[in-house]
């Protein structure tokens, strides 16, 4: 992907530039944010097992700065909805999302969270995007841990393109 102007990581050479780093506020803040996305693990079904694998040593989400799973919505940045969202749970998920401080993002992990999956049923919400805005959808039932890591990397790219004023940049 071609970086847009605001996402360019400014090259830095201390021999030429001394102890001064020149950048834009957007780029700096987004760099802080995207490399330290603290997840809110909304584990609702079997996808949560894969989510745990992502957090464990073999896949190690810490490599991407997201190892700090916060069970308090006040301290987390990205809600990973891992599993089947039933109607009984739906408004609780929305309430927890509402309690998260801005800026905040959502990953819908797996078929159920994305679309209701195989549960075309009276009991299951047909995709968590019916109640909260979703940034990244991950296919799979459940997705492999690598797929969730890929989603996280894609989310980091997305976060890097956002404006600190909350205005999304137009696609270049």
């Amino acid at each position: 992907m071609q970086p847009t102007a605001s996402t360019t990581d400014f090259g830095y050479n201390s021999k030429i530039e001394g102890d001064v780093v020149v950048t834009r506020v957007d780029a700096a803040l987004n760099w802080f944010r995207k490399n330290s996305l603290w997840p809110m693990p909304m584990g609702l079904a079997c996808c949560a097992i894969e989510l745990m694998a992502v957090g464990a040593s073999r896949f190690d989400i810490a490599r991407f700065g997201s190892e700090v799973m916060r069970f308090s919505p006040r301290q987390s940045d990205v809600m990973i909805v891992a599993g089947t969202v039933t109607y009984k749970m739906a408004l609780a998920v929305k309430r927890i999302y509402d309690q998260m401080a801005d800026p905040k993002w959502v990953i819908a992990m797996g078929a159920c969270a994305s679309t209701g999956g195989m549960y075309r049923s009276y009991a299951v919400l047909q995709g968590v995007d019916n109640i909260i805005p979703v940034d990244i959808y991950v296919a799979g039932c459940p997705p492999r841990p690598e797929a969730l890591l890929d989603a996280l990397i894609k989310l980091q790219a997305k976060v890097g393109k956002e404006s600190v004023l909350g205005l999304k940049h137009k696609a270049a």
Binding site: Y87, K88, S121, Y122
Partner: protein, 244 residues
């Protein structure tokens, strides 16, 4: 007067020798209650009896537990015989842990009544089983200590495992608690057919249930890909992969 140890030995020996089968227990039960119960049926070592009057289920269960020694209630399930009377069948699965005997009691309840006595007084574990039946089928258990819904939320207006409840659900809304919407079935449900000759014949897709309904048959006639699964004698479509 026998000493306790002798008594225990005799007791163990008695059980070992006797090895009472479920059908023997069922016959004892039948002998005790007579016309209230049907003739016991045996299938794969398990015995089944029908209890003619659901109101007397408690005294039957008490005898089964206290005199016959069925110390475990495995499950209570319910059947919706939609379109028939009585509409509900309640099935009690009982287990004798010492004799490894499985006994099944069935009783029927009409739709108008939709109520029968609780057996939580006999096996306390019946509590959640009866709550689940109330939640899913809407059959009430008189005398239950806490007859609330167990899976759906209080205030949900339907009983979703009834045969006349659509698979896709019905819309409902309880502000600040929960809402439901109708699920998109896209002509489904998508089901597999066991025994299809290849993966194409077996794979999940829209299958028309085998019914006498005119609407269903006319739909079926338009579906050459589905029909063979329902009419084994009909000419099979050519599902072979084209040669490269």
């Amino acid at each position: 007067m026998l000493s306790p140890s002798v008594f225990i030995c005799v007791h163990l020996w008695f059980h070992f020798l006797l090895n009472v089968a479920a059908i023997d227990f069922a016959n004892q039960l039948k002998a005790r209650f007579g016309d209230l119960l049907s003739e016991p049926a045996e299938f794969r070592g398990e015995a089944t009896l029908k209890v003619a009057d659901a109101e007397r289920i408690v005294e039957v269960c008490e005898f089964v537990k206290k005199s016959l020694g069925f110390n475990m209630l495995l499950d209570i399930s319910s059947i919706d015989n939609y379109g028939e009377d009585p509409r509900w069948t309640i099935v009690y699965e009982l287990y004798h842990m010492e004799q490894k005997a499985h006994l099944r009691l069935k009783t029927e309840v009409s739709e108008e009544k939709s109520e029968l006595p609780t057996i939580t007084t006999v096996w306390r574990t019946a509590d959640w089983h009866e709550r689940e039946i109330y939640d899913m089928m809407g059959v009430r258990f008189r005398g239950h200590p806490d007859l609330r819904r167990i899976l759906m939320w209080d205030g949900y207006p339907y009983f979703p495992l009834r045969k006349d409840f659509p698979l896709s659900g019905k819309p409902s809304d309880l502000p600040d608690l929960a809402f439901t919407k109708t699920a998109p079935l896209e002509g489904g449900p998508f089901v597999t057919v066991p025994g299809g000759k290849d993966a194409l014949a077996r794979e999940p897709r829209v299958r028309i249930p085998q019914t006498e309904s005119v609407a269903t048959i006319s739909r079926l006639e338009r579906r050459d890909d589905v029909r063979p699964a329902h009419e084994p004698d009909a000419p099979q479509p050519n599902t072979a992969m084209p040669k490269p």
